[in-house]
């Protein structure tokens, strides 16, 4: 069935403010049955907020929503679900201790006998069916506990949950952020199949290629307003889309590498030898990173990249091996010592491991420097100056630097975390998925900052699942698979194909 007829969902003039920040200003779009509608925009542009309003998680300050031609008030997620609107979010909303089938069917009234006893057999049967639809029945058992699955598998369960409601509208908020290409392809196959049945999708994503692959229409947000509305995807191309999103053209997206040859010699600053992690997943891993270079660490989800950088920094213990920064050995399992020696780690989960959401932006930025500095009495004045400097340098968009960090958008929160580590003046800055869920102009800004740091002689190590990013910014790339380094590539000789081959098979071809 092609997308046609009257809109199933119509959003008109919706506005929403969070404190002093106007997140949405009279935005709207239309969704036809069987249509995949992309919402694009930079972080903080408001696209996720729209999705959450439609799903009943936030309430709009003004504006109207029509569902199947009637004006509706969606004041809770339960109301949205009973209407036939489901959302799959970036942050999971699941119960890690419960098995997969209970996670999927807990919200289903019809599967409870007499209204309160879960029909276990039926729930398991239907979960298996749904898993089969994704071709995941081998990998995910309905009885496994959710917490035992990988992040990607948990994401699939979230999507299955949304599908299980037989929803008419499904909102996918960054659905592929933690999926491998293969898993993403499976997801899109399911989207296409459901589309045939008339299910409409709203998809929020930063990945251009998937937007062009899967979407029929697109609405673009910038600073809380719609700049393009219900545009047919056939009339779009990447250039047009980027222009619409940022209001200007981004030349030289990945920033330019600065030529350093004249300024100083590249010398090894980070030396890792025979590293063995606490779980013996990584057993004997050695590499070097030099000052003035950006070293990329690529690999599939689960290759051990995060474990590697966490055990280098001491966020996790090491069973063996040494880590040296400028010759000085870094103690195992002691982040304080790592910081003293000149290491910094921007972790992949900024909310869980990076930010104090209720702390002010200033306190967040100053935290690590103050914690590792001398005075026991907090140097408020110096913190404030540092913070102003960083806001300027990283172009953080904020209301007031005394506002809590939770008032910021994802991209700006990431900049706050980055600022926290930059203020410790690291010799080696390690970033784990630094641009996950971040809009393109914030991405470009972060790349520029990394290049500036490298020009000052800092060694930057980037763990990333986005191959264009790895190829675009790194000087050298290490590829990991199953806890070992399977390939080392010069930026010039690397290509997505070669990296994928090392990551999947451990060889170049």
């Amino acid at each position: 069935m092609a997308a046609s007829g009257t809109p199933i969902l119509k959003v008109t003039d919706v506005s929403k403010a969070f404190g002093a920040v106007q997140a949405l200003n009279k935005v709207g779009f239309e969704l036809l049955p069987g249509e995949v509608h992309a919402l694009m925009g930079e972080n903080g542009a408001g696209k996720s907020t729209v999705g959450k309003i439609i799903a009943g998680i936030y309430s709009a300050d003004e504006g109207s929503i029509q569902f199947e031609g009637r004006e509706v008030k969606i004041d809770s997620p339960a109301a949205a679900i009973s209407m036939g609107i489901a959302i799959v979010m970036q942050e999971f909303n699941s119960m890690p201790h419960l098995p997969v089938y209970e996670n999927v069917f807990l919200g289903h009234k019809e599967i409870f006998k007499h209204g309160f006893i879960l029909d276990k057999g039926e729930a398991i049967r239907r979960t298996t069916e749904l898993l089969a639809m994704f071709g995941m029945e081998e990998q995910i058992q309905p009885l496994s506990r959710l917490r035992d699955l990988t992040v990607a598998e948990q994401q699939i369960v979230e999507i299955i949950k949304a599908v299980s409601y037989e929803s008419k509208v499904i909102i996918l908020d960054e659905p592929t952020a933690s999926l491998t290409q293969k898993e993403a392809d499976r997801l899109f196959a399911v989207v296409k199949r459901l589309k045939e049945k008339g299910v409409a999708f709203i998809i929020v994503s930063h990945r251009f290629n998937e937007i062009f692959e899967i979407s029929d229409k697109i609405t673009v947000f910038r600073d809380g307003e719609c700049v393009l509305k219900n545009v047919n995807m056939k009339e779009m191309d990447e250039q047009k889309l980027v222009r619409a999103m940022v209001g200007r053209e981004i030349k030289d997206f990945f920033g330019s590498k600065v030529d350093l040859a004249a300024d100083f010699e590249k010398r090894p600053v980070l030396t890792v030898e025979h590293l063995r992690d606490t779980w013996d997943f990584i057993q004997d891993l050695s590499f070097e990173a030099k000052s003035g270079e950006i070293l990329g660490i690529a690999g599939l989800v689960g290759a051990g990249r995060t474990t590697l950088v966490r055990s280098i920094f001491g966020a996790e213990g090491r069973k063996g091996g040494t880590v040296r920064v400028d010759g000085a050995e870094v103690k195992q399992g002691d982040p304080g010592d790592a910081i003293k020696k000149g290491l910094a780690l921007v972790t992949e989960n900024r909310k869980e491991e990076g930010l104090f959401l209720d702390f002010s932006i200033c306190q967040n930025m100053a935290f690590a420097k103050t914690a590792n500095g001398k005075p026991y009495v907090l140097p408020h004045k110096r913190e404030e100056e540092d913070c102003r400097g960083m806001i300027e340098k990283l172009r953080v968009k904020l209301g007031h630097f005394r506002d809590p960090a939770k008032s910021l958008s994802g991209g700006n929160q990431q900049k706050v975390v980055l600022a926290k580590w930059l203020l410790t003046n690291p010799k080696v800055l390690i970033l784990d998925e630094p641009t996950r869920g971040i809009d393109i102009s914030a991405k470009a800004e972060i790349y520029t900052i990394l290049h500036q740091l490298v020009a000052q002689g800092v060694c930057v190590v980037v763990v990333s699942s986005e191959l264009p990013e790895v190829l675009g910014i790194c000087d050298r790339v290490l590829v990991m698979r199953d806890g070992s380094i399977t390939g080392e590539l010069n930026a010039k000789e690397a290509s997505e194909e070669i990296i994928m081959s090392y990551a999947s098979f451990g060889t170049a071809s």
Binding site: L355, V377, L378, H380, I391, G399, R402, D403
Partner: protein
């Protein structure tokens, strides 16, 4: 940048108000309660009654200081009342047997800190929930208190000891009120201006981020319990000195009054949120309310209904006003 532009537009007060909503709400409620009592009771606003209130809240206030510290890390200390009991009893018995007031006070304070340290170690090193650890400690200490005293009060404490809390600045206004007030200022300063203070909030807000920033989170989770134990012992010294005797029931059920006051003052049970200003307001509010019920002749049987309802209503009000913002 946009930051500077907005900075000018928002006054210091607005920024303060945004960060201290529960303090302002409860502060307002305290003022209203105060005014109402002034109007309906002729004896409320007499210096005698005012000093009476101070006397009534003083012990809860000291315990609340330690409790605030612990709750900011996301913990809870249910043992404060019993620690007050056991430390004051040990101090009183030492005083009678050794005749040395100084030694007795030193041991009292040390004992409080040690008990707090045991609490803190069990919570920080062994990851046992603070609720369980301090619930157990509460029972152990109270029981030890009875065993040690045989259930009898220790009377006739030395005059030099009684003089500590007995000294008055003006009629009815005792020196130790001033000490407690200074203690509030000191703890406020520590919480807002030292690493200890910042780490305390940080641990309650996001312990993993705190650890990854190089902070010894185990140590800084432990310290608040030691402070709480110490505060309880200070409360024990003041109570013994004030009444010249120590009864094995001293501090009984104080942990609940303390918790109520701290929570009313805006401290979050989950940690990371709360201020000493809020705790001061919470303590005063509960004190003024209890006193108001007393002097207006409300039956003591009704007082629990009043204070309990106020506690729940305060949190209900906060949740309702917060929810609108989302």
């Amino acid at each position: 940048m946009s930051g500077k532009k907005n900075e000018a537009a928002r006054s210091k007060f607005q920024v303060f108000a945004a960060g201290h909503r529960s303090e302002i709400t409860m502060g307002g409620a305290l003022v209203i309660l105060f005014v109402i009592l002034c109007i309906i009771s002729p004896v409320f606003l007499t210096s005698r009654n005012m000093t009476n209130i101070l006397s009534q809240v003083s012990f809860t206030a000291v315990l609340a200081l330690g409790q605030t510290f612990v709750m900011l890390t996301g913990g809870i200390d249910l043992s404060v009342g019993s620690v007050l009991g056991i430390t004051s009893m040990v101090g009183a018995m030492l005083m009678r047997s050794t005749e040395s007031v100084f030694l007795a006070i030193a041991v009292t304070l040390l004992l409080g800190a040690v008990i707090g340290c045991v609490n803190g170690l069990l919570v920080s090193r062994f990851d046992i929930p603070a609720f369980v650890v301090t619930l157990g400690m509460m029972q152990v200490c109270r029981s030890a208190d009875y065993l040690l005293s045989g259930g009898h009060a220790v009377n006739k404490l030395p005059d030099s000891f009684r003089a500590i809390a007995g000294a008055e600045i003006a009629a009815g206004f005792r020196v130790y009120y001033l000490v407690i007030i200074l203690l509030f200022f000191a703890v406020h300063w520590v919480l807002s201006n030292t690493k200890l203070g910042r780490y305390t909030y940080a641990i309650g807000s996001n312990v993993e981020a705190t650890r990854l920033a190089g902070v010894n989170t185990k140590l800084y989770t432990l310290l608040p319990y030691i402070i709480s134990g110490l505060m309880a012992a200070i409360g024990g010294v003041l109570m013994g000195s004030r009444f010249g005797a120590v009864d094995p029931n001293y501090g009984n059920s104080y942990e609940m009054n303390t918790l109520a006051a701290v929570v009313i003052g805006g401290c979050a049970m989950t940690g990371g949120k709360g201020t000493i200003l809020g705790t001061a307001i919470g303590v005063l509010f509960m004190g003024v309310l209890t006193n108001g019920l007393d002097i207006t002749g409300v039956s003591p049987y009704w007082q629990g209904v009043a204070t309990g309802s106020v506690l729940i209503l305060a949190l209900l009000f906060e949740r309702l006003t917060n929810r609108k913002k989302v």
